[in-house]
């Protein structure tokens, strides 16, 4: 690192008393400064910290070349310099954690009704469930890609209908919604719950209890949510 030719000082004869460190050493200094600084640093700021006679402008160019293609780069920020993550590696900094959550009872029931009765209107779903269906539940199911709007029903008010999607079929491993077993088959398969409604409420995970207010309201209160 001290292999810089002797002539460096000749370039700055006025500083002969304070011989500047070799350029390679200046590059090290700039590297440390840019690394540790909390703000981008101008050449003047670097010079103020470096020994007399240093040329941070040249050192920063050396450093910049050294970091070409590396995991970080020496970037120009206005008239200052900063070390930044290489753009192509930004994704490493933002890790995604996947959290699995159970679908709320309201959502799964709504989904089931739509799967069995599609195309089905909101009023019909509410009639079957005996409670209103909140916009949030439908939105969530649409966002999950399991629900979409079908054609409007040709009745008074032309209400929208809901149908399940291919994504729904894929997720639940179904060829088509018609393959869903009927009530009789469900009973035979032991899938009918033998508990009266309401009793299973205490078993529900915490966040599902809230649904009583968010979701299951008497039809008519619906839009207050």
């Amino acid at each position: 690192m001290n292999d810089r030719p002797e002539d460096t000082t000749e370039e700055a004869p006025r500083d002969s008393l304070f011989r500047a460190p070799p350029l390679a050493e200046q590059e090290r200094m700039v590297e440390a400064l840019l690394f540790a600084s909390a703000e981008p640093m101008s050449v003047a700021e670097m010079a103020a910290r470096m020994p007399h006679g240093c040329d941070p402008a040249e050192a920063v160019q050396l450093l910049r070349r050294r970091y070409e293609g590396r995991g970080v780069t020496v970037a120009r920020v206005g008239d200052a310099w900063a070390i930044r993550t290489a753009a192509d590696l930004g994704y490493l900094m933002a890790r995604e954690t996947v959290e699995t959550r159970k679908l709320s009872r309201a959502a799964i029931e709504t989904l089931a009704i739509i799967a069995y009765h599609q195309p089905v209107t909101r009023a019909e779903i509410e009639e079957i469930r005996g409670v209103s269906v909140s916009r949030g539940t439908v939105d969530q199911l649409i966002e999950l890609g399991w629900l979409r709007f079908g054609r409007r029903r040709m009745t008074v008010g032309r209400p929208v209908t809901y149908v399940v999607t291919q994504g729904f079929l894929d997720h639940f491993g179904l060829e088509s919604a018609r393959d869903l077993p009927g009530l009789k088959e469900l009973r035979e398969a032991g899938l009918l719950e033998s508990r009266p409604p309401g009793e299973d409420a205490p078993d529900l995970p915490e966040d599902e209890t809230g649904e009583l207010f968010e979701d299951e309201q008497e039809p008519g209160d619906e839009d207050e949510v």
Partner: protein, 273 residues
């Protein structure tokens, strides 16, 4: 605490060193310092002993415990003569050293129990050597290239975030069960009738919702028990629990407020406006 001169007792002087750098510097300056001692500058009797030991100008392993004991006792005497208040542990150490001195000077009594005077002296010498070693280690540690002083961390750390993505799990069975549940709700209603002593939270909720409108003032939760459920203990218990759970739900929904002045006191409910 006053400072005072120890005359010839001290050849080098501990200085109250309350920070690392001063302390580091002190090590080198010590020899030239004036013979001024601040009792507060000592970190306890062992520290004082170690400083006295250093005046013997020998390796701590060859230290004369007897001489050290005399030095310590002389120090304490002097401090007392100057009416300095000494902490109890300095005096305890003085008493122990006086005992050790007598044991070292007198021939051992036959049949004496416990460790010999030489063992006690050796242990004291060991303690001093160990303390000196730890001092030295501390100085070396503080003399290292320290973070924020000689070595620096990244000034512009980037936020390394961890985003949360929620994946909903629902299997086919959940779907089928949900449908079955919805479609067979009516079938089950008669069963609920069998459980005549059970008041469910949903029932309590249905009952409370229209009632809370009138609870503009704090009202005892127990007054909301349904008729016919107040006397029979079993039914009363169930209705109380259901009412309480329902009240919590209503509180969570921001519809009512609950309060209880102390443990086991009545729980009171008020409408939230």
């Amino acid at each position: 605490m006053p400072t005072f001169s120890m005359g010839t007792v001290m050849a080098d002087t501990p200085v109250p060193a309350n920070d690392a750098q001063d302390w580091d510097a002190v090590a080198s300056r010590r020899a030239e310092e004036a013979l001024v001692v601040d009792v507060d500058g000592f970190e306890g009797p062992l520290d004082l002993l170690l400083n006295l030991a250093r005046t013997q100008k020998v390796d701590l392993r060859q230290i004369s415990i007897l001489a050290l004991t005399e030095q310590y006792l002389a120090f304490i005497e002097k401090a007392r003569a100057m009416r300095l208040e000494l902490a109890a542990d300095y005096l305890v150490m003085a008493a122990w050293l006086a005992y050790l001195k007598s044991r070292l000077l007198l021939p051992p009594e036959p049949g004496e129990e416990g460790p010999s005077a030489e063992d006690l002296a050796a242990h004291l010498a060991y303690q001093l050597e160990r303390l000196a070693a730890m001092r030295d280690c501390a100085a070396r540690l503080m003399g290292r290239d320290r973070l924020g002083q000689d070595r620096f961390v990244r000034g512009m750390p980037e936020s390394i975030s961890t985003a949360r993505r929620v994946v909903y799990t629902a299997g086919l069975i959940d779907l089928l069960q949900a449908y079955a549940r919805v479609r067979t709700r009516d079938d089950f209603r008669p069963y609920a009738m069998d459980r005549e002593s059970v008041f469910t939270m949903e029932q309590a909720l249905d009952r409370l919702r229209p009632l809370i409108g009138s609870a503009a003032e704090w009202t005892d939760l127990m007054s909301f028990l349904p008729q016919g459920w107040e006397t029979d203990p079993k039914r009363r218990r169930s209705a109380t629990a259901a009412n309480f759970a329902a009240a919590l739900e209503l509180t969570k929904a921001g519809k009512v407020e609950l309060r209880q002045s102390e443990t086991f006191a009545p729980i009171q409910l008020k409408r939230r406006d």
